[in-house]
């Protein structure tokens, strides 16, 4: 593929869709977390690609996209820490991390 904006958009679309497929099909809670990481990375790649290729005027440079990606990475780190804490807590309580087994709230 040529080094151009659509190539990056195609790669990040693939990342997003594979991440979504992972989230939808995994039964393992940690597998679902991996899918979420793929989705977040696809979004971050999009931001950086746009900040590189789009037209910038004299007054604004487009580094805002890179700053946004930094925030995405920070939020992903916080999210994965809390999610793994919940997963480990569930594991010590239920002895499994299969999300189809967690149905006490179903009524």
């Amino acid at each position: 593929m040529p080094y151009s904006l659509p190539s990056f958009l195609i790669v990040s679309s693939l990342l997003f869709c594979l991440g979504m497929y992972t989230v939808l099909t995994r039964r393992n809670a940690i597998g679902i977390l991996m899918g979420i990481e793929l989705v977040l990375n696809g979004a971050g790649l999009n931001f950086v690609a746009f900040s590189r290729f789009l037209e910038s005027s004299q007054t604004t440079n487009l580094l805002g996209g890179q700053v946004f990606t930094l925030f995405i990475i920070a939020v992903a780190a916080a999210e994965v820490a809390v999610a793994l804490a919940i997963v480990l807590s569930l594991y010590s309580r239920m002895k499994t991390i299969d999300v189809e087994e967690f149905k006490q709230l179903q009524g």
């Binding site: 290729f53 992903a76 994965v80």
Partner: protein
């Protein structure tokens, strides 16, 4: 030369990504995720985002992925469970994802993006990002640090209660 490196990094990103989604072994999926994240760091560097590339390696590969692999190791005792759902649900998920993928691909290739005529040489970004973080984006930056602190305390609290409460 740049196109060759670019395509290598694309393959390095996309191929293990399929393995993350389709592998029937959670450990293989975790290590494929490592390769994918490394490929994305390479793509960031090719986009001229040196700082983001390094942060990606440090935070994702050095932090998040190590956490995920720890999680895999600590929850693998006992009976081995099927990693994915059964076939009808898989077909539904594949169709849904495929429709979204086609829409995204059409949108990204057919749209007329306001692309700059000449993409300049990459400049060092660390200093400019630092200025932005402590200037224009000061409040989001502070909120992100409060979020990280809350996540830190929350994670410790959740795990500690479950260990002590039993």
């Amino acid at each position: 030369m740049r196109d060759i490196i670019f395509n290598v990094f694309i393959l390095l990103t996309v191929i293990p990504c399929f393995w993350v989604a389709l592998s029937s072994n959670i450990v293989h999926a975790a290590f494929s995720l490592l390769v994918t994240l490394f490929g994305i760091a390479g793509l960031y560097v090719l986009l001229g985002a040196d700082f983001i590339g390094v942060v990606q390696v440090i935070v994702y590969i050095g932090g998040i992925l190590v956490l995920i692999i720890f999680g895999v190791m600590m929850t693998q005792r006992g009976k081995l469970l099927p990693l994915s759902i059964q076939l009808p649900g898989k077909v539904f998920a594949a169709v849904l994802t495929g429709v979204i993928l086609v829409a995204l691909l059409l949108a990204s290739t057919r749209s007329l993006w306001p692309v700059a005529a000449v993409v300049g040489e990459p400049q060092p970004t660390s200093a400019a990002i630092g200025d932005l973080l402590l200037g224009k984006y000061l409040i989001p930056f502070e909120i992100a640090s409060v979020l990280l602190l809350a996540a830190l305390v929350g994670a410790v609290l959740i795990v500690r209660r479950s260990v002590r409460g039993e």
